[in-house]
């Protein structure tokens, strides 16, 4: 029954974004995150969201899949918004009633927090939607490989991630079978206090752990038999290669990044707008 689960949330279509080298995508994500934090003006943020929309369209992943990532934050976002709205007391007061006051700085900050969170989450989500966990692992391993020089266990970490990805479906299936075996012996997993229910899980958890240890032992033997001796001297079947596509993606990203920085530093759109807003308010 668990055989059909797909790991992560990879959306299997062919698109220029899917075809990008995982290293490129990781670099793009990092640059994108920096850009999201550089932006201080609400209007420049439009540029960030536009870029995000552009990448989504290029990836041929339905927008609704990308925005799904926001769903788990449906409580966090309003709370963050309201907290900032009422707590920040900078800028001009827009509304005052007894001890409650809303300032222009508060509105700005509240909007910013929410937009930043949305931008970050959808960006990361687009990466996992267009990249399989396997190639993501590969990308990370290659990208971090310079860290080997300072004895950081890059290969070992990547190997662990690979094995975890390989065995998660197997373990889920096994957990299902164990649960059924114990249910058939009359195990009651659903009634009683939390403590009782936690205790009732033992007949499932113990076989699962015992079997996992045995699996690990057997896997270690199998890996040794196949001459595994760590990352040293290993070659790879799949060699990651930068394509023309990757160059284009990096160029577009750089252009976007430059635009964000330039507008942010040399075109004070935001202060121009606030000035305009103040004038309108005064006129009113």
């Amino acid at each position: 029954m668990f055989k059909d689960i797909t790991l992560g949330q990879y959306f299997p279509v062919d698109s220029p974004v899917h075809r990008l080298d995982p290293r490129t995508k990781l670099v793009l994500l990092i640059m994108y995150i920096i850009a999201v934090f550089i932006v201080k003006d609400i209007c420049v943020f439009g540029l960030v969201l536009a870029f995000m929309l552009f990448m989504t369209i290029m990836s041929r992943v339905p927008l609704s899949y990308v925005t799904k990532a926001i769903k788990p934050m449906k409580w966090l976002l309003p709370i963050m918004f309201l907290l900032n709205l009422f707590m920040i007391k900078t800028g001009t007061p827009l509304f005052t009633w007894k001890f409650i006051s809303i300032t222009s700085g508060g509105v700005r900050q509240a909007l910013f927090i929410v937009l930043r969170l949305i931008a970050l989450v959808t960006g990361a989500s687009l990466l996992t939607l267009t990249t399989t966990p396997v190639s993501l692992t590969e990308g990370l391993e290659r990208l971090l490989s310079p860290l080997k020089a300072i004895k950081f266990p890059v290969h070992e970490l990547a190997m662990m991630m690979t094995i975890a990805l390989r065995f998660i479906p197997t373990l889920l299936e096994e957990a299902d079978k164990i649960m059924k075996a114990q249910l058939a012996r009359g195990a009651d997993l659903e009634s009683g206090s939390i403590f009782r229910r936690a205790k009732a899980m033992l007949p499932i958890l113990i076989p699962l752990f015992v079997n996992s240890f045995r699996r690990a032992e057997e896997l270690a033997l199998a890996m040794e038999s196949r001459c595994y001796h760590g990352g040293e001297g290993r070659t790879r079947l799949k060699v990651l290669k930068f394509q023309l596509n990757d160059l284009w993606a990096l160029l577009i990203m750089s252009a976007f990044f430059a635009a964000v920085v330039l507008i942010q530093h040399f075109l004070p759109i935001d202060s121009m707008l606030t000035a305009a807003l103040k004038r309108i308010l005064k006129l009113g």
């Binding site: 690979t162 057997e218 595994y228 790879r236």
Partner: protein
């Protein structure tokens, strides 16, 4: 050539698994090792590529001692082992990459590796599953991938440590057929460890293990002629041999040393229909 010289082995728990075993397996031989659970046959398998080292005695693979740590990779490249549980041998999430795992460890250049992986997958008839996820495959298919993973290291010896025990009859038949083909076409030495007597039919030599010792050794015909002795140590004989024994006992027909359905039915025609 593989030689096992006066090997004894005791597990840390103190229970002896092998005592004074000596065997010689020549290049290109197809040997079957049978024995009941706990007869020491799996311990013996793990000795063959240095996963376990003998407490006493030596194991020599192509002139290399498995106790010599510097030669261990070389030994393991020569002796490929396929284990019982199909789930616990596949390391990565894509079939092709898993087959490449051994060659990757050996540092084979990528261009050569691609050729080896494709050839290995073709040899076990799994080309069309190259990009599949292992957990979607059947037990028999997983074992084929495990065999391909060994072939990609180009071993001289293939050891199957009860590799068919967890498979259904079709999966089992496939594995046996593939292993026989590899033996015939590529001349690979095969050491098959099993408890299914049917699998021993047609091999060059059968070694029967019992209580950590070599209990009997001979051609399948010689071994299966001693049905009562085999049964006394918890084994049995192939179905055709069992029927042959019963027919002989009742004085109905003497079918000589027929071991398969085909052979037995021919013999019966000869003696009962006079054809």
């Amino acid at each position: 050539m593989l030689s096992i010289n006066n090997v004894s082995f005791t597990y840390e728990s103190g229970s002896p698994a092998l005592s004074n075993v000596s065997l010689r397996i020549d290049d290109g031989e197809f040997v079957c090792i049978v024995g009941h659970n706990g007869s020491g046959k799996s311990t013996l398998a793990k000795m063959l590529n240095g996963l376990l080292l003998p407490t006493e005695g030596t194991v020599i693979v192509n002139g290399m001692d498995t106790a010599d740590e510097d030669r261990l990779l070389d030994i393991r490249r020569h002796v490929g082992i396929v284990f019982q549980n199909p789930d616990n041998q596949i390391v990565t999430t894509v079939v092709r990459e898993d087959v490449a795992f051994g060659p990757e460890n050996l540092g084979i250049p990528t261009e050569e590796m691609i050729v080896r992986v494709d050839e290995a997958l073709a040899a076990v008839g799994m080309e069309s599953y190259a990009e599949s996820a292992p957990h979607m495959l059947s037990g028999g298919q997983k074992q084929r991938i495990a065999i391909a993973g060994m072939l990609a290291m180009e071993p001289n010896v293939l050891v199957l440590d009860e590799a068919t025990a967890m498979l259904d009859p079709l999966g089992r038949r496939d594995i046996i057929r593939i292993v026989r083909e590899l033996h015939e076409k590529k001349g690979i030495t095969v050491i098959m460890i099993t408890q299914y007597m049917e699998e021993a039919i047609g091999v060059d030599r059968v070694i029967v293990m019992n209580g950590g010792q070599v209990w009997m050794e001979g051609t399948p015909a010689e071994i299966f002629a001693r049905g009562d002795e085999l049964r006394s140590i918890g084994l049995d004989v192939p179905a055709a041999v069992e029927l042959r024994e019963q027919l002989k006992e009742k004085g109905i027909a003497d079918a000589g040393d027929a071991m398969t359905l085909e052979e037995l039915s021919k013999e019966l025609c000869r003696s009962l229909l006079n054809t």
